[in-house]
């Protein structure tokens, strides 16, 4: 379905994750309005200052020449810019663009980052053409995080263009001027596709400078709709890279011999995604305010059955509030393993204090997977990497004890009654899309808890996020904690939303994490974190402290790492960053996509 | 010479409701001859099968009505043709040129959403080619209408714009435009007031005089018969029970039913008591054995309850189906 003058073999086609673009003619992604940045804008058109890669665990200096330079007391930050980069109209990218951009965003409340910049920035100025200095109103050791691109982040825009615009808010930035390696070639007025063309001067962009020439001459972002449509499109070799459900993925494997996943074998999925899925309990709602109840619900889950239901076994399990990706396994799971094995709940089973951790869980999952007829490696290390290091024991009997001692009872049919004698009913508020891993968590949890004797319903809702924010739910499938950077061990992002001062009662918009849980000990950890450099070893230690508190209290239940079901068609392009060669993160919708393009190899056809 | 004749014609409504079958013997063994250049009237109680008889001889038999037996002959160019032997398409061509039909309730016989001129044209072109619109269609049509005393502007109207009487007359004009040899008219005057009725009768008379064809006219209004017909057949329960020249019927009815019919006719200036026919008409799906009139007949005899009397000629052109009369004859 390409026009004649766009050769298919020189074009790379990827899917638009967030759907049909509502404002196809508008490329001004610098306001708070939603403009589907994943239509190529963040991947091809814009370069950030820094970018984080969760596969390599690297923070990449893009437009910045090196990392942020803080002063002693974290009241000032200096950014050095890379020299030799220019906008697609040939104008060099300099400190003026940065200063102008930051000031514009601070002036106009409709621009994104207006709020955080105003909160912290006192002054911003350049000291030379490639050096920008920020002075803060109060100390902040993590201000640079605003500029780290990981599906968002403040990105520079051309001063000489925006200066001309009457109103930066309504300015449509069309045709857009790129800092990235591609420029806009064409777009669909109806918002289904956007076509990008490689810049002649691609070597004047960080991508070119860092990794060489991006291979595809054209990159097309196309919204195909439902998973079935994507399968059809890829089977017809009209979609090189897409994001699917597990079922659709199996369908495409059957239909297209050129299709592959992140792994070439089962479980195919990306296990390096920095998001941890799970269940969020509303700690302001009885009985979830009781730690015993939260633990009981956790122990009532048979993780093998759970992942089987949710993802046919193809997801890595994890007990911490960070995902069990290789880097986090290295940074946190392995150091905490002994502690987890010795963790006890203050309940005795057969006279022994109960140890809930089950390092054998991934091996049980492997048994299940084998039964389903899939081949898996035998080496324990490989299994742990694929299926996660372990999970909690399936111990409904212990869960029962925990509940009974809190006054819960069971009726004749084996259904749980609340301490006040009424039947226990849980309504899980779920992500509206049934193919989303969040939604799959809800379905799996419902199955587990029903087996345990609780009446569970699953209510998908477009408003699930809003309901979470106002606390208008009891259990939902929101991330159990905000996800970490992915490519950096710092856990400030994960822990700080739980701080006491962010707590808002039900009815008010949540400011921190929607679980409405807080903890004094954790507050201390967070406060200390704010005072240490994010690269320091101390920061890593503090992260572990925080994770331990979360495990003990179990305010939310992490289950498995986000299984990214990407499907790649090797008909026209090869050398994707698969598990066998993970040179960069594997998604087409992340901003890092531009750093993948130089490595792709065309198949001559 | 007869223009149309039937022999032992039977047509029944066959109503199948699951397994139960119900036969309504609406035309039951009718043998009749209709002459050229005459107005033949058929009278009888309502529901006795008059309309069904007309439909059958016009070959407008559609389920549930079925022709069960007997034959119908048309005389075409001096030869009798059995109509079931005529091919469907050939018969279509006969319609309107040889035989035309004015249905009961003909007020609704015109397509309500096309102009009357349009209807005329449809019926005309179904049988005759129009080469020159003006010469082949407009001219004869206007002539026809004015000959019948109808204003030409009806052509521009839609049916609902005309009064009932006017519509009726238009339908008649439409049925006669191709000068058919036989015109079959089913109750063309019921539901009209006397003045309009008179105009319609007049029209039919005029047509017959002009075109010298045959009209078969059904009505249960004996006064209309008296006024226009040459011969009358009296129907009772699906059969013809008497047939004679109009004068004879009124002067000398032979069948007891006809006698009642004639005797009960009110006359202006005559206030003497008029008796009515006693009893109720039989159900055509459940006829009594023997003569169908016997339950109501004051002269009923034993034979009447067992055998069906045949229509036999008693006087010149006067036939009757009653044992009373045939016995007299026999004796």
């Amino acid at each position: 379905q390409l026009a004649e003058d766009i050769p298919r073999e020189k074009t790379f086609i990827a899917d638009v994750l967030t759907g049909r673009v509502g404002t196809p003619a508008n490329f001004n992604v610098f306001t708070t309005a939603w403009r589907n940045p994943d239509r190529g804008v963040q991947q091809l058109m814009l370069e950030p200052l820094w970018l984080v890669d969760y596969v390599t665990g690297e923070v990449i200096n893009a437009l910045a020449a090196e990392g942020p330079i803080y002063n002693e007391d974290f009241t000032q930050m200096t950014v050095k810019l890379r020299e030799g980069c220019q906008w697609s109209d040939g104008v060099p990218i300099t400190a003026d663009d940065i200063v102008y951009g930051i000031e514009l965003c601070m002036q106009d409340s409709g621009m994104s980052y207006n709020a955080p910049f105003n909160l912290y920035v006192d002054k911003v100025y350049k000291t030379d053409d490639y050096t920008v200095v920020f002075e803060f109103k109060e100390p902040n050791a993590r201000f640079h995080a605003n500029f780290i691109d990981r599906w968002g982040g403040w990105r520079p825009f051309p001063k000489h263009i925006f200066e001309e615009a009457e109103d930066p808010l309504s300015f449509d930035f069309n045709p857009p001027i790129s800092s990235g390696p591609y420029v806009l070639k064409d777009f669909d007025q109806a918002g289904y596709w956007t076509l990008w063309e490689r810049r002649e001067d691609w070597d004047k962009t960080p991508t070119g400078i860092l990794y060489g020439m991006p291979q595809p001459e054209y990159v097309l972002f196309y919204y195909y709709g439902d998973a079935a449509n994507k399968v059809i499109a890829q089977a017809n070799h009209n979609l090189d890279m897409t994001d699917l459900t597990m079922e659709a993925f199996r369908a495409i494997l059957e239909r297209n011999e050129y299709s592959r996943g992140y792994r070439k074998e089962y479980p195919w999925v990306v296990n390096v995604d920095p998001c941890m899925t799970g269940l969020t309990l509303n700690n302001d709602v009885s009985p979830f305010d009781l730690k015993d109840v939260r633990w009981a619900l956790t122990l009532a889950i048979d993780i093998v059955d759970y992942i089987g239901i949710a993802f046919d076994g193809a997801a890595p399990m994890g007990v911490l509030h960070v995902p069990p990706t290789p880097v986090y396994q290295e940074w946190y799971y392995k150091p905490l393993e002994e502690w987890l094995k010795n963790l006890t709940l203050d309940i005795e089973i057969d006279g022994e204090p109960f140890k809930p951790y089950d390092p054998e869980a991934p091996f049980r999952l492997v048994e299940y997977v084998k039964e389903r007829g899939y081949d898996v490696p035998k080496e324990p290390e490989a299994i742990r990497e694929m299926f996660g290091p372990g999970w909690w024991k399936y111990a409904p009997d212990v869960a029962e004890q925990l509940l009974l001692r809190n006054g819960f009872t069971k009726d004749a049919n084996g259904k749980w009654l609340l301490p006040d004698g009424t039947p226990w009913k849980i309504a899980i508020t779920a992500h509206p899309s049934p193919s989303h891993p969040q939604h799959r968590n809800s379905l799996a949890a419902a199955q587990q808890w029903r087996n345990f004797g609780i009446d569970v319903t699953v209510n998908p809702s477009e408003a699930y996020a809003a309901l979470a924010q106002t606390g208008d739910y009891v259990v939902n499938d929101n991330w159990p904690a905000i996800e970490p950077w992915g490519g950096h061990p710092d856990l400030y992002r994960v822990l700080s939303p739980f701080r006491t001062s962010y707590y808002r009662p039900i009815g008010e918009q949540a400011v921190g994490h929607s679980s409405r849980w807080y903890n004094e000990k954790l507050d201390k950890v967070i406060e200390e974190m704010e005072k240490v450099d994010w690269d320091s070893d101390k920061n890593l230690q503090l992260g572990m402290e925080g994770l331990k508190i979360l495990v003990e209290e179990m305010p939310t239940i992490p289950t498995f790492g986000y299984p990214g079901v990407v499907a790649w068609d090797e008909y026209y392009w090869t050398n994707y960053p698969g598990a066998e060669n993970p040179y960069t993160q594997p998604y087409h919708h992340w901003p890092n996509f531009k750093y993948m393009l130089p490595f792709l190899r065309p198949v001559e056809r | 010479m007869d223009i149309l004749k039937t022999e032992n014609l039977k047509s029944y409504y066959i109503l199948e409701m699951g397994e139960t079958k119900k036969e309504v013997k609406a035309v039951n063994d009718v043998t009749i001859n209709i002459h050229e250049d005459e107005i033949y009237g058929i009278a009888g109680e309502s529901g006795c099968g008059k309309s069904t008889f007309l439909k059958t001889i016009c070959k407008l038999v559609e389920p549930p009505l079925r022709m069960i037996g007997g034959t119908i002959y048309y005389q075409i160019d001096g030869k009798y043709v059995e109509i079931t032997e005529i091919k469907e398409e050939d018969f279509r061509k006969l319609r309107w040129k040889y035989i035309s039909y004015i249905p009961q309730g003909s007020m609704n016989a015109l397509n309500p959403i096309i102009r009357i001129r349009e209807s005329f044209k449809d019926f005309f072109t179904a049988h005759q080619k129009i080469e020159n619109e003006e010469r082949d269609f407009e001219e004869p049509l206007k002539k026809h209408l004015s000959a019948l005393g109808l204003p030409v502007r009806v052509l521009k109207s839609y049916p609902h714009q005309l009064s009932g009487g006017m519509r009726q007359r238009t339908t008649i004009a439409l049925a006669t435009i191709l000068k058919p040899r036989i015109i079959v008219a089913d109750e063309p005057t019921t539901a009209l007031d006397v003045v309009a009725q008179r105009a319609v009768i007049q029209l039919l008379k005029d047509i017959q005089k002009l075109q010298k064809n045959t009209i078969i006219l059904v009505t249960h209004d004996m006064a209309v018969h008296a006024n226009i017909t040459d011969r009358i057949g009296i129907m009772y329960a699906g059969m013809f029970v008497e047939e004679a020249r109009t004068d004879d019927i009124f002067e000398n009815p032979l069948h007891p039913y006809t006698k009642f019919l004639i005797a009960s006719l009110p006359k202006m200036g005559d206030k003497t008591y008029k008796p009515s026919v006693p009893g109720v008409p039989p159900s055509l799906s459940n006829l009594p054995p023997g003569c169908p009139f016997h339950p109501r007949c004051p002269y009923v005899m034993d034979i009447c309850k067992k055998e069906i009397p045949q229509l036999v000629e008693l006087n010149t052109e006067h036939k009757s189906a009653c044992f009373l009369n045939s016995k007299e004859r026999v004796e």
Binding site: R20, T23, N26, P116, N238, S496 | L60, Y101, F123
Partner: protein, 335 residues
């Protein structure tokens, strides 16, 4: 004058009442949803990974609410809504702020209108034609076959039917493109290359609409005709020896189409609502997908814009048909 007072006025009043009631419902229902558009935007920005200090979120929420014109009581918003409506302005889209809703609708409308007007007309004409003929010649073999086919096709869930077409003709036999309104990179213009491209892309969606539409029209028309054939004038036309084809078309079909005209008006009025399911299945760039997206993102203004237009469209179509109907039916014209 009398015509205006007795005939036109009541109809216009009726039209206004319908529009008023409809639009009020349209205004109220979306506001009962728990979807908070401001929260949706914030979630989208934060959940996808942008780092916002939670304290900053609060002030952002305030400014967004102000920007989107969502302050004030329901009543104030309601009056403001009517005020804008009279100016032909449905306000800015909340989710794609500050693009006006009208503009969003206008970019999608040509696609939907092109698809729906043509398919509605085709299925109306073909469905009624076949239905009328099958009703008149109901004992013929082909009529019975058609009858059975349409009886089985009609109940197939729309979605399934569309998906089936997609899998068959875009995948197993990839004759037609599976998605979109025209080829990527093709310049929009009034030239054969573009038009044939558009036709090729809309073939499958159109087919799904046409086939099911024909089946539906077929069945209604057959029912109508079964009553018409019993009318005196049909029987009279037969007695008059008219050709079967003439009777079928001029005496049966023509009369049977009259009641179907209202149905046609209603369907044409519905184009403002889009062909929801078809558009979703075929990723067709019309109003249906726009609405679906708006509902998913809680874009009040867009939903109200589209649904209000639908109400006005349908009410307007019925009004126009009411006023035009006398042209088709002389009985009404000359009463």
């Amino acid at each position: 004058m009398l015509f205006f007072k007795r005939y036109l006025l009541p109809r216009i009043v009726q039209f206004l009442v319908v529009v008023f009631v409809g639009i009020t419902i349209v205004f109220i229902v979306p506001r009962l949803t728990p979807v908070d558009p401001v929260q949706q935007v914030i979630n989208r920005i934060t959940a996808q990974g942008a780092f916002l200090d939670p304290a900053a979120v609060d002030s952002m929420r305030k400014s967004l609410t102000e920007l989107y014109g969502l302050e004030g009581s329901m009543l104030q918003q309601y009056f403001a809504f009517w005020g804008r409506l009279f100016r032909g302005d449905f306000g800015p889209s909340l989710f794609q702020f500050p693009i006006p809703v009208t503009q969003l609708i206008m970019t999608s409308l040509p696609w939907t209108a092109g698809l729906l007007i043509s398919t509605t007309l085709i299925s109306w004409i073909v469905g009624n034609l076949l239905g009328g003929l099958a009703g008149y010649f109901k004992d013929r073999r082909w009529a019975k076959v058609l009858d059975n086919i349409s009886m089985v096709i009609r109940p197939i869930p729309y979605y399934i039917f569309a998906l089936l077409l997609l899998i068959l003709f875009a995948y197993l036999f990839p004759i037609f493109p599976s998605a979109g309104g025209y080829s990527v990179g093709r310049r929009i213009g009034f030239n054969w290359a573009f038009i044939s491209d558009v036709l090729k892309h809309s073939f499958l969606p159109a087919t799904s609409l046409v086939v099911l539409g024909i089946a539906a029209n077929f069945m209604t028309m057959k029912l109508i005709v079964s009553n018409i054939v019993a009318e005196d004038y049909v029987m009279y036309a037969k007695a008059g020896g008219l050709k079967e084809s003439k009777i079928a078309f001029k005496y049966v079909l023509k009369n049977g189409l009259l009641p179907q005209i209202t149905g046609l008006a209603l369907s044409l009025g519905q184009i403002f609502g889009g062909a929801l399911i078809t558009e979703i299945v075929f990723s067709y760039p019309g109003i249906g997908t726009l609405v679906y997206g708006a509902i998913n993102s809680g874009d009040y203004n867009l939903i109200m814009g589209v649904t209000s237009l639908s109400v006005i469209g349908i009410a307007g179509a019925t009004l126009i048909i009411d006023l035009l109907y006398p042209l088709f039916d002389p009985r009404i014209r000359h009463r």
